[in-house]
């Protein structure tokens, strides 16, 4: 067992010396063939014998109390086995290991809040039965409109406290140039394609939950807490997850309802949320209103930087969108203010969705920098360069690694930024107005405690195992590469086992910390194996070279199979956050560039090309990393141009909770996207040297598109999405 906190910031010797040259290679997904042949089974795809099906019944009002539940008609429906609404463990919403929702309450926190579950022999009967349950409520006036509700500054929500450095107001009063604008972003749904689904059964005493979940170690604790079971009696399985986007980081109420049903009926129970139900039973990203105030001199050097905003949460939820989080280390300025205010609403819980904080915070700040650059008559990249800090301007710590200006330079060169015509509305291509824009990307780097086991079998094949998930991100592949690199194997000789809480606990997929944390644990697990192999070679670990299934040292050479002598070697590794996280400021960085065309007649926007250059520390796999970044850039196109969940402020219901009218980008909206990396291994981040990737791509991406729209049209939209009606008034006559 090698346990190591990230204290020294030194690269593990076995990784520094590794010579297999497979880590970082663009290896195709190792589980790809299973997925394309349907052999990879997801949470809803297996039905143990005797499985029953569950459907959730929601509250019919946005606020008030449930007074009675009439289940007679549902129970009379052929196929319905039970209607459960009297169990005190029924949760009012989604839970995670840190915060449980209210349970067994008659209070309504939001429309659609789970109040009962119908269990039937078929999914069709369960869902029809759910529609027959009559829920009587004593409704109360609801708070559904963020604009009309009081804004609270004195709250304890969220992980990011308000920050005040220097005297922002005085610095702005004294500044020769003052910028002050408001921006707004709407509610975003996580919108994973795979339904939120679970199959739940008791395996003896053990409640087994096969679930579409990003962080199963936490899910296990949450389920145990909600069900009143010790954690040892809960096992969570998630070998394959079809996208999460933050929406599967907690435990949905449907999981607990299915577990209650399985316990009461003594049968396996399956549940999958219909798409529209996900709007009410899965958290969303809060709408935000943001303000950016900047004071600077005529050369653009910032003296005061303020980024504040307001986000919503309901009375039961404990999360708050950390709006300015990405702004903390981004630009200099001695006087600084960052704060997220709270509005309480009677809506489903808000939570972590695709780069909480940065995705929408960088939209505001990166548009603000574009606007400020134009007012000053300075190139937007040059303005950023003049405010590039040499250490974190908010906490004063040195950066672990920061290649942001290199990303600007490389991106500008590759994209052809110098050819940009700064005057907006200058470039026309037939009926289209053409413009280009850029934005910085920044996403804070996190490392989470993670363990992994590695077994080098007598046949020379290795197995790495942990409870990490692969939510389409490439975990299977990068762990195979990591172990292959250190043990000198072909990645095809490494088996990867994930998604089972019986395996060593890992980080889970969230906060972009999964790959770096899990890979670090795998490296550490290999240390004991390398030491043992060296001992058998009568060599010191420092002189042992492992490559292509062979070990060599000091002129001696042997195959691993020979060294193993018919017996496997097993080892565990554990990586945990240490001094480096306290000593250094850590983030992934990047620069986005976009070219858009805006139809001069209709205001329709088409993104013509995008390019980004990114600094993510060590790239574990250039293909899967680029895949995640490009996916994030697509989400940037999405929230710039279409994504917006609309709340009907009369009822507290969502207007457009389906993919027909909740407009994510479709293939035709997505242009050629290029992703490049500037690779500098970040040994302070974790043992693998890898900073977060998954959420970096969305950060700033939407701002680049919106800035390009401004360059094309001269119309500045500060309230996304930029639908055609927001541009119509400013377009030239037909």
């Amino acid at each position: 067992m090698t346990e190591q906190a990230i204290d020294s910031g030194e690269r593990p010797a076995i990784l520094a010396r590794a010579q297999q040259k497979v880590l970082g290679a663009p290896l195709p997904r190792v589980e790809g063939p299973l997925k394309v042949t349907g052999a990879a089974t997801y949470a809803f795809e297996q039905a143990p014998a005797g499985t029953a099906y569950a459907a959730v019944v929601g509250a019919p009002a946005g606020a008030g109390r449930v007074t009675a539940i009439d289940d007679a008609a549902a129970l009379a429906l052929p196929g319905v086995v039970a209607v459960i609404h009297d169990d005190p463990r029924i949760p009012a919403g989604e839970g995670n290991s840190r915060a449980m929702p209210a349970q067994g309450t008659d209070r309504i926190f939001h429309h659609g809040q789970p109040v009962a579950v119908v269990v039937a022999e078929t999914q069709a009967a369960a869902r029809e039965g759910a529609s027959l349950v009559r829920v009587h409520a004593d409704p109360a006036p609801g708070r559904f409109d963020m604009e009309t509700q009081p804004v609270r500054r004195d709250h304890k929500l969220g992980f990011l406290p308000a920050i005040e450095i220097g005297d922002v107001d005085a610095a702005i009063a004294a500044a020769p140039v003052v910028f002050d604008e408001h921006y707004a972003t709407p509610v975003h749904f996580p919108a994973a394609l795979e339904p939120h689904a679970s199959t739940v059964w008791f395996d003896g005493e053990v409640l087994t939950v096969r679930s579409s979940n990003q962080v199963i170690g936490g899910a296990r604790e949450t389920i145990a807490k909600a069900m009143g079971l010790p954690a040892e009696r809960v096992r969570v399985l998630a070998p394959y997850v079809g996208g999460g986007f933050g929406g599967k980081t907690g435990v949905g109420p449907e999981v607990i309802l299915a577990a209650i049903a399985a316990e009461r009926l003594g049968r396996p129970v399956k549940v999958a949320l219909p798409r529209r139900d996900t709007a009410y039973l899965v958290h969303h990203r809060s709408a935000t209103v943001q303000q950016v105030r900047i004071g600077c001199d005529h050369d653009g050097v910032i003296t005061a930087f303020e980024h504040t905003g307001t986000a919503a949460q309901n009375d039961d939820g404990g999360f708050l969108e950390p709006i300015p989080f990405g702004s903390l280390p981004l630009y200099g300025g001695a006087n600084r203010r960052f704060r997220t205010d709270l509005v309480r609403l009677d809506l489903p819980a808000t939570g972590a969705v695709r780069a909480p904080g940065e995705a929408i915070g960088t939209f505001a700040v990166e548009c603000a920098m574009d606007e400020l650059a134009e007012r000053l008559g300075i190139d937007p990249i040059e303005l950023r360069r003049r405010n590039e800090p040499d250490r974190d301007p908010t906490n004063g710590k040195p950066f672990s690694t920061r290649r942001l200006t290199d990303c600007y330079d490389e991106g500008a060169r590759r994209f052809g930024w110098p050819d940009r015509v700064p005057a907006p509305g200058s470039v026309r291509d037939g009926e289209w107005l053409v413009g280009i824009g850029m934005a910085a990307a920044l996403r804070g780097n996190f490392t989470v405690e993670a363990s992994a086991s590695v077994r080098l079998g007598a046949d020379g094949r290795a197995t790495v195992a942990c409870d990490m998930t692969d939510i389409g991100t490439g975990t299977y592949t990068i762990l195979a590469q990591t172990v292959a690199e250190v043990l000198g194997l072909d990645p095809a000789q490494v088996d990867v086992r994930l998604g089972d809480t019986d395996l060593p606990r890992s980080a889970g997929s969230g906060g972009s910390f999964g790959a770096g944390s899990a890979a670090s644990a795998a490296v550490l697990a290999c240390e004991d194996i390398v030491v043992e192999l060296a001992r058998r070679m009568n060599a010191s670990p420092d002189e042992l070279v492992l490559a292509d299934g062979r070990a060599s040292a000091d002129g001696r050479d042997a195959t691993l199979v020979e060294l193993l002598r018919g017996e496997a070697i097993e080892a565990m590794g554990k990586s945990s956050p240490g001094a480096q996280a306290k000593k250094t400021s850590q983030a992934s960085h990047g620069a986005h560039f976009a070219e858009v065309a805006v139809n001069a007649v209709t205001g329709e926007v088409r993104v013509r090309r995008m390019l980004g250059v990114f600094d993510v520390g060590r790239v574990l796999n250039r293909a899967t990393a680029a895949n995640q970044i490009v996916g994030g850039m697509v989400w940037g196109v999405s929230y710039a141009l279409g994504e917006a969940a609309v709340v009907d402020t009369r009822s507290g219901r969502f207007v457009n909770p389906d993919f027909g009218e909740y407009h994510v980008a479709v293939n035709a909206d997505v242009p050629q996207i290029e992703c490049h990396f500037i690779e500098e291994i970040d040994d302070a981040a974790n043992q693998a040297g890898a900073k977060g990737v998954g959420e970096l791509g969305i950060s700033g991406a939407g701002a680049a598109v919106v800035n390009a729209i401004y360059n094309a049209t001269g119309i500045r939209v500060r309230d996304v999405p930029v639908t055609l009606d927001t541009l119509l008034d400013g377009l030239p006559p037909v």
Binding site: H111, E128, R606, R650, A668, D729
Partner: protein
Amino acid sequence: MKTFDYARADSIADAVAAGGRFIAGGTNLLDLMKLQVETPDKLVDISRLDLNRIEERADGGLTIGALVPNSDLAADPRVIAKYEVLSRALLAGASGQLRNKATTGGNLLQRTRCYYFYDTAAGCNKRAPGSGCEAIGGFNRIHAILGTSDQCIATHPGDMPVAMRALDAVIVTQAPGGDKRRIAIGDFYRLPGDTPEVENVLQPGELITHVELPAPPAGRQLYRKVRDRASYAFALVSVAGVVAMEDGKIASAALAFGGLAHMPWRDPAVEAVLVGQAPSDAAFAAAADALLAGAKGFGTNDFKIPLARRVLTACLKELTR
């Protein structure tokens, strides 16, 4: 979904006698059934009927079987060559997979995408007559600006029917007794009025068997669809236009509009303003004035009025170029 009976029809006579909701491609009906927006007791599957051919008639027109898939109709060489507006409208709709399943008859009957029609917890006079209209006073970005009533402001979401309206298509039906009708598309749809649940003149059990296109029209044709993303979105405004020029003047014009009303919209006054005129900004402005004289926005859809004006103007410039 509510439990339902299912019957498969082997003949048109069987189908109309079966007594149930017809289903062919099911691309709209099944979605609505899963949400319990539609709750038919019985489905009659007509997908095996012999109604999937496109045939030329002696008068030069085409007779299109009601089961011809959107994809096939859009790709038919005769349609591409002579009814370009129809082919383009079809390809502007839905996605490749949906067009493979969606049929000509079913597409005429596609139901509105009004958000509140889809939300069974909302008041909607179309879904539940008498329950009110939450789109009025609510979020109505995609809603109608022409021909609305205080009971309903929903739009017809289709593209194909807009082109067919410009082409003066005729809808051929067969009733349960065996009677056949030929209904001009201009007489087929209804405005919402006090009965928004009644969307067309079909009688219970009456089956669309064919659509007839008259002989190809003279002049240029176009279909322009304006929407919120590049594909897989319904029209905010669409224009199906057929304009013929003679001696520098507009000899004939057929202009139909999607996204503006409860039906594919066509207003003879718009065409009357144009015919006999030389193309000019003034003539186009007069046409837009005629189209939008009675237009009424409901808040979030107010932008459709200037948008429709701009799109019509651009289309007329293109058609008279």
